[in-house]
Amino acid sequence: MGAGVPRRLGRSEAARGFVLIGPPAIYAILLLAAPLGTMLLYSFLTDGYLEIIWTLTLDNYREAWTDPLYRSVVLRSLRVAAMVTLVTVCLAFPIAYYVSFHVRPSRKGLWLFLITIPFWTSYLIRVFLWKVILGYNGVINSGLLGLGVIDEPLTFILYNVNAVVITLAHAYAPFAILPIFVALERIDRSLLEAGRDLGESGPMTFWRVTLPLAMPGVVAAVLIVFIPTIGDYVTPALVGGPEGRMVANLIQLQYLRLDNFPLGSAIALSAMAIVTVVSLVFLFLNRRFLRAAP
């Protein structure tokens, strides 16, 4: 107990909770809340080359929202993140379903461990290896050339949006599989039997019982993949080429190259606001599935 805390207060449950939560909370306030607040303040100031001009203005936001270059990058980020999310979640669902419904309970842990391992290996190196796989002389091209399927290397798979989608779908696979798996595990198996007993076919039972019950997991997977992918820096920088630049690359450019903190802050906060709005709309559209969630 802290020395300054009076004895009676020290005994109460709330006070003990506060003393314990104190260090991590203060850390988060100083190094997360305060920086985010400062960023918000900066976004209303003006960059004066050598110093920041302290007059509040909306110019940065005006520039961030009207400049055609910035707008196209932000729109592309949204499009890429949406595509990545769709591909990742659609690819992940059957895996989560397989592990939950068709793997023996004693082997489930092993499967989940196998699925999560690649996620923990160096992200940079994985992205670079996708560049090796998809490249002009890459694994796919040399393989297909060797088999005689194609006559010259495919060029549409590297340094564009496709490469970004493939690489991010790989990077975020476990993020999509785990929440769907957890939701599927929670489904009471007797409900499925009831569906069958009442004369539904296997696919119909899946469509009308399993899928609606798994939706909370799918919604969580969508958000967990969508939110970080839109802010990804490494993948667009390494495999995206000039056509695949995303909003994080733009933010990095403003901060580290052009040294324009106010405009960079305005772009970053605008992107965050868009992500928040899109996520909330998505949650709203799926509210009927979430209401039933335990």
Partner: protein, 266 residues
Amino acid sequence: MRLLRVYALAYLVFLYAPIVLLPMFAFNNGTIIAFPLTGFTTRWFEAVIATPAIRNAVQNSLIIAVSSAVISTALAVCAARASTRYRFPGKAGIMGLIMLPIVLPEIIVAVSLLVVLLGVGVNLSILTVILGHVLICTPFCIAILNSAFQSLDRSLEEAAYDLGESRWSTFRLVTLPLVAPGIVSSLLISFTISLDEFIIAYFLAGTQATLPVYIFSQFRFPQAVPVIMALGTILVALSVTLLACAEYFRRRSIARTGGPQSGGLT
């Protein structure tokens, strides 16, 4: 269900494809990262050991990863204990703020810290990277430690109080040993996250390159890439070993505190 099984195996191939290629190129004698392979060599691994810049980056990364792991686990022990054991006003809001970095793109964490640190005149160094890494590691540590504290049987602590132990000695003698495997698992996970983290280190390290920052800078030079493949092979082997250890301790933690066995890092 045969089709689903084939799909599952194909998916694992997709997941592991890059990792399987890594050692193939690390031991390949050619300087170009492409097929066909041209012969076996260990010279890239020798180059890894002989490059001073790599040694320097490894040293920086280890200092950062160890410090981040220790600090974020210590903070997470407080937070997980508070959130599983006590009720207090504003709990959901405070926990929400602490867990926020899990859903915040790392670039936002990086630039917001950069603005503040430069604003108050702190020089960018290893220390500033640690500040950022603790922020993003703590939520993961809390997630792990929450399950360790949750599966703790509270009657064991009550028994210790009844036997005359003080609150602190009970925590030290009863609670801590019971959640120790969870703490080890939290240390290992946060160490791995910090070691691999690129974007925060890229923004906040100043002139001190960490390993991922060094690797990223070398991708521009094609002749440097085989060495990076060798370095990557070492890193992947290390990560997999650490994770297997973390998973082992996490399972022991649940078994020890009497909770149900559930698989995976969930």
